[in-house]
Structure formats: C-alpha cells, structure tokens
Symmetry: C2
Subunit: 481 residues, 2 copies
C-alpha cells in the first residue's frame, strides 16, 4: 500500500508521518520483519512492505526491534530528591524516614523531579507514567501545573494522581489509630481542590490526565475514598491507590473494617476497570475474584517490594484468576532506579520463588505483554494503545539491537528482558510524535536536568529521625515480637 | 608524607605510581576525603594529604568514590555465546537446553567469551573473576591458553577453573543414576591434563591462577573429587564447585551418600579455606557449621538463582553462623547480564523475603564488604586484596559520582548498590596497573570484541531439543508430580 494514498484525517496539529522500514516485531511465536507506517498519531499500516509517501520520514529499522511502549504503572516523582537516601527498612518505618528526611520541596523541585522521572521512563522503554505525587501544601494547583509541564515538554503520556489522605501516619499501623487523631485532613476541602485540578489539567487528548490517588485505605476515611470514586465517575478519571503493600495493612483492614481491604473497597464502589492498585502483596484468594470481577488492575512493583521487604506479590495467582497485572517502578526513595526494564525483569523472575512448576512461569514475552497491554489496561487506554495494532495510537519504542549490551543477538526479547540493556532505546513515539530520536530527546535538554540534580542543594533533615523513633517501638511490638 | 621519600622496592616490572587526590572513601560510618598513593602495585599510603612524588601520576579524585575491586566469585565465560538463548527453566532442564543448543565453540570463541566476561566484570566494579569454564574437548591446554590470554590482555585477575566431571547429566537427578552409565569420563585422565594445565598456566604472581573446578558432587565420582583436592594441595590451588543449587541435588546427596552433600565433601577433605561453593541454595542448618569450621565460602548467585527458580540461598544464616559469603554472576546462559552491581543489589535485597526483621538485613555497606573482602576470601587472597588497607595490592575501582545515574548525590554507596548505575566505573587498577582510565580500556579495543559478538554467526541447534526431551518426564515425576 502507499502511504500517500492512505493519508487522511490529518489536522494542523497532527504529528509528521514516519515509515519504519524492515524492523523486527514479535509475532505469536518468533519475529517478523515489517514496515510500519505511523500517520496522524496512529499506526496506519503494518505490512511486509509499505510504499513510503512523500510526507513520511523514512527510518531504517534494520537491526532494530519495535515494541509498544511500557506503562510505568506506579511511581512518586517527587521522591527523586531522596534517591539513595533512605536506609533499608520495611514500608511503615521507611515512610517515617522519608518524612523525617524530606527536604522542603518547592514547585520548581517538583518540576525537575517529574522531568527526571519522565526521562528515565522514556529511556527504559516507557511511553506512559502513573505519577502518584505529593503536592506542595497550599500550592496544589501550582504543583500540578509544574508536573504537567514537565511531562508535556517531554511528550510523555502521564496520569498525575495527587497523593491525598485524611488520616495520620500512625493510623496506618494495626492498633495505631488510637495513638493519634483519627483524621488530619478535611476530605471535603481536599476533594474541592482535587476538582479544581481536574477542571484545569485533565486533558486526555493531549496525553495528560488527572487521576484520583488516595494514598490507600490505611490512611483514608471512607468519605475520602467515596468522594474520590464520585469525582472519578464525574470526569471518567482513572483511580489509583496503594493496596496491601504490607502484612500490617492486611491486619489493619480486618481491624478497621472487619473484612479484607478489597471487600471493603468493592463495597465502597472504588473498584472498577479504571482502578489500579499498587502492590497487592498481601492479597488473599477471595480478593482475587473480586478484582477479576471488577476489572481492577494490580500494579506489581517488585524492586520496591524487595527493597522494603514487603514480600512477593501473588502475581501468578492474579494472572491465573484473570486479574490484569501491570508493572511499576514505585518512587525513587524505594526503588533508587526508575528503570522499567529492571522492574519487568525482576517482576517476572520473582515468581519463580513461589511457583516450582516452570510451565507456569512468566515468560519474557508475557512480561512484555503485561508491561504494554497490561499497563494500557491499568490506565484504561487498552482500546487506544498497548499493542502493535493498526489503528492504535503510535506509542512505540524502537530498540537498537546492535548495542553491546544486546550481543550476541540471540533472542531479542529475552535479551531485553533477561539481560541488562543499557542505552538501547533508540527512538520513542508517543501519540505519533517522536520524542526521542537516536537516543536524543527532541524537546528537552537533559543536561539542564542533570545540572539541577547536581547543584540544587536541598536541606535534608537527617537527625533526629523523630517520626521513626515514635513509630518503631509500636511497629516492632505489633509485627516482629 | 612524601611519595618520593617513601618510594622503594620498585622493580623493572613495577607499574607506575599514582596519587589519587581528594577522593571519597567509606569509613566505618560515613565517608572520608583522602589522598591515596599507589606504588609498586600496592596501596602505599592513605592520608588526608599525601605529597605527590615526581614519579606519581596525579589523579583528581574529587566527585569520585574509591572502593576495593569486587570479585565475581562464579561464572562460566563460554556461556556468553548463549546469552539470551535459553528459556526460563529450572537448572536441570535449563542445563539440558544449554547442551542441546550449544554451538560448537572453537578456541577462538573461548577467547572472545572470556574477553567479554572480563570486560563486563571490570565495567561493573570487578577486579577478579572465577571462571569455571568448559574447555574444548581434546584441546584443553589450548583452551586455557586462549582464556588466560584474554584475562592477561585485559589485566584482570582471574582464576580459571576448568569444568570437569566424570558422570553424565542424568546422574545429577535423583533416581537418575540407574538411567545411564555411572561414569562418562576417566577421572585419572582428566586429572592428568588438569595437572598439565596447572604446570603451564598457574602463575599467581601475574594474577592468573588455575583452580580445580569439578562441576559438583552430583556429577563427579569421589575419585575425581579427591583427585582435585590432592592436586589443589600440591600446588596450593583454590577449589571451586557447584553445591546444592537445587532441591534435586539435596535429594540426590542423601540417595548417593546417605547424608548431606556438605558432610560428604567434608569427609572427602574437599572443604577448606581455599574452597568456594557456588549457590548453596539448599544448605541445611548442620551444613553451615561444617562450612564455618572448614573456612569454605558460599558464592551467592542471586540473578541466576531467580532466573532458574533455584530458590533463595540462606545467605543471612550463613553470615550469622560465620560462613564467608561472596557474590557471583554465574554464566551468561543463566544470568544474561554479567553485571556485578546487579548481582550485589539483588543478592542483598533477596534476603528480605526470608527475614522479616529489618535489623538483620544486609545493608549496602555490608554487601560491598561481601563483594570485596568476602570475594577476596573466596579466592584465598584476603591477605593481599579486598580492602582499602595500606600494604595491600592496589586492586581498586574509582567510581564517577557525577554521572546522571548517581544523581542526586545523597549516599554514594546506597546509590551504587541500590540504584542502577551505568557507566560509572571511571578507573580500575589491578595489582597497581591501571587497566581502565576514564572509562577506556588501556590495552584492549573493545570494539573488536563487539564486532566478533555481532558477526561471528554460530550454528545453534535449536530443534529438536533432544536431551531436554529425554530428561523432562523424569524431572517432572521426581520433582513436581
């Protein structure tokens, strides 16, 4: 077919056309060498040979692999500033140390952190990120503006889910509620500025969405969770929250609700096909059926789970029960890298610990499907992205198979997933716009970012670790003694 | 002090002197900024300020971290050619697939594979590798010559441990011995060419050692194991073998010996302070005491263990009982990367799965100590290397802390271990010789290697997978049904 003949539907805003020639793409088994034509933001043709139209920039796809972009289903961009800072501690104590050492971040720091997160997402094969991010108090709208600006400049798809909660840290521990005031925030006021953020920044067509992001049942009142669900329905927003990252949270749910957290969230109407749940390490069997029925997604964050000792999420069981699973990096304070390929590798391999039968293990190809189509489902974009399908948006990544870290070239997908690829992302398109070409960002000078990360000296409050000291005795008593 | 005044003991063969100024090094807690003087192959001085002598090349150590080199305690260099090729399978079936798909490697391919392994070791912070390598049958001495040449050219310390065995693959499975001839090799003949290899290539002063490397009790007769121990004593060679990588091996030991593999190896006299044991995933409590008493080392290969579903090695228990632990990558067919920093990261993090009390977790600093001094102990070099100590050999790595993957610069060691550093190895010295400077190898053009890995088309025999088909039903019956 001819690209010129088939052209149409182009608007003034349409990205240029691209024709990627002779590129490797995975088939059900093995690989095919194809031409792929990107036009008007979409995959317009995939065929053994496509005739380039004059309007198309022709790209040599030889020795390259084309895959749909991954979705980073869970991170917290502002933690970039605490990368490498927090000691190995379990989640509840880790969070206390994050609080204790947190530098006072301004809106500018939020911008640079989001830019860093976006760059690392793109450089590791991602085209979309779910950023559950803590906003600067009192400057919530300015914070989202800065974060959205970073992702818009990069050209990355992003779901910005402001972290909200109305219960204090101590309430997140079993028998911890009595130790502090039950609420710390006014859910009504929070939902009010959330609605304002949605009105101002939720622009799905541009690739920037707002999602509701209550931090988790363990620190949210029912009123806040229901309010989030309502807001989400009004604007068709995605919903994103932490769920059962720790054993303590499972225990807390029974204490707080007399039933599992999943059963409670389902009753509140929080779970649906637009809902993604970070972690799910301590899900129980009956929970899985609820998740499958409601269409909610579990986001697997294996690097963070291992670093914090949260346990191994029952991802294989989720898949066996028909629960959608995506991958996430989690924030840089609990995954000091933000590399999707690392998360995918560890995520698939970790399942071998709990499943002796290798015939049930996640294969590298299945891991890629989870990171792409599974990720797209997690953000309710599976109809538009997540696979190499004609008609879908061109959210695509071109990998350089001639890079030393991909040699010798045996099975490209196995090398990509099981190896340790470095700098193999050659080009990235998001909604058909080329945001990275030959390893270079098209719209952003990343040296600016590195200068900021190098030179911006933030004040970390390293001593005393007050919150940690307050919580630790209770934590040890409840969970270790 | 002055470098010139203190100079002495230099010979014609001595490497040049280096003075690394104002470099960060770890102290018991925190970091110190020091000058480090390397002279005559050794660390000659570490002090807040050392006056450079005329003979010393001065190196700016600012924004750099100096650590002892890591030891890659276990790999199989020839597997480089099968990187990315083998599907996710448990060790016994994985090995069958490795056999089935193995290309016919010539001595040249062994050279390039060793060069690749050496380069990846150096680029990920290693200064020494234990290469338990399969030699070309009938060309055993030529094989070792090629492998030794690769490491010598790079300037890497290496222990070359030819893989030897005298029992067939099927004998390595429980109830598998009756299924095949009990022996496939003549231990006497094997030990004869091993002795010739030792005579010709064991040159500890140059950094190249030969070690005895029986593949494991599961495929070796007692005669071969005892012969290895005897040879090792005659030349003071290190001993290296696989041990209890799989549950099947533990079962097999009781079947074969009526007791644990460790008890049997101890009785054979195979375990001593020069012995390192790869994996140890299925060690039992009483085994640990034997290992501690004999001074043997367990080499932890977490990436390979996860990829093959071997289980989680009881590394914390080993450390608690006083057993030395080092890190290894394992071969590229089971760890498709050969990155020591990845192995260290995963190795420390995996222990959180089996130990709920964070106060017992391996910290990044302890992980570094395991990879350096623990690694040095594994190869019986702890008196000479493995720490930043005046008088020890200068086996040192200088890390660039200004690299984007190390930003923002919070805690350098945490960033190095818990992050995903890329291209941060700036300089490496081995025995005081600078083998890598500003990221460039001093004696080898690595583009030559990449061309070979790219263009040397080996014949892989992908179908039928005959050995796998033979073994799989028995495997499933013994271990899964």
């Amino acid at each position: 077919m001819s690209a010129v003949e088939s052209a149409g539907g182009e608007t003034a805003d349409s990205p240029p056309s691209y024709l990627i020639q002779s590129v490797l793409m995975p088939e059900a088994e093995g690989y095919a060498t194809v031409d792929v034509w990107l036009h008007a933001g979409h995959i317009a043709a995939i065929a053994p040979q496509v005739t380039p139209g004059q309007a198309a920039e022709v790209i040599d796809g030889r020795n390259k692999l084309l895959l749909p972009g991954f979705v980073n289903g869970h991170t917290h961009s502002s933690q970039v500033w605490q990368r490498g800072l927090i000691r190995p501690l379990p989640p509840e104590l880790w969070l206390a140390e994050v609080f204790d050492t947190a530098p006072a971040l301004g809106v500018e720091e939020l911008y640079w952190a989001a830019l860093s997160t976006g760059i690392e997402t793109l450089l590791s094969g991602g085209t979309c990120v779910v950023d559950q991010v803590l906003l600067k108090r009192g400057q919530e709208l300015e914070s989202v503006a800065a974060i959205a600006q970073a992702y818009r400049e990069l050209g990355l798809r992003a779901l910005i889910a402001p972290l909200i909660m109305d219960e204090p840290l101590a309430a997140g521990l079993p028998q911890g509620r009595s130790r502090s005031d039950a609420t710390t925030g006014d859910s009504g006021a929070i939902l009010e500025w959330m609605a304002a953020i949605v009105e101002q920044f939720h622009r799905p067509a541009t690739g920037i969405q707002i999602a509701v992001g209550p931090t988790g049942f363990h620190r949210c009142s029912d009123a806040l969770l229901v309010g989030c669900a309502t807001l989400s329905d009004r604007y068709q927003l995605c919903r994103h929250t932490h769920l059962l990252e720790t054993r303590a949270q499972r225990q807390l749910a029974y204490e707080k609700y007399g039933r599992s957290a999943v059963a409670h969230l389902a009753d509140l109407g929080f779970l649906n096909h637009r809902t993604s749940l970070a972690h799910g390490v301590w899900l129980e069997e009956p929970d899985l059926d609820i998740l499958a029925e409601t269409g909610a997604t579990v986001v697997h964050n294996p690097v963070s789970n291992l670093r914090l000792g949260s346990g191994i999420a029952p991802i294989l069981k989720c898949l066996q029960r028909g629960v959608n699973v995506a991958f996430g990096c989690d924030g840089a304070a609990s995954n000091d890298a933000q590399d999707l390929l690392e998360a995918i590798k560890l995520g698939m391999m970790l399942q071998t610990v709990t499943e002796p039968d290798y015939q049930r293990w996640i294969t590298p190809r299945r891991a890629i499907a989870m990171a792409t189509l599974g990720g797209a489902k997690a953000v309710n974009l599976a109809a538009q992205t997540g696979s190499l399908t004609v008609g879908k948006a061109a959210d695509l990544v071109l990998y350089d198979l001639s890079h030393p870290s991909m040699l010798p070239l045996t099975d490209p997908i196995q090398l990509l997933v099981l190896g340790r690829p470095m700098q193999v992302v050659d080009r990235v398109w998001v909604q058909g716009r080329q945001v990275l070409a030959q390893g270079q960002f098209q719209t952003v000078d990343r040296q600016d970012l590195y200068e900021q990360l190098r030179d911006r000296r933030l004040q970390f409050n390293l001593n005393p670790r007050q919150t940690l000291a307050q919580i630790e005795p209770h934590y040890r008593q409840m969970l270790l003694d």
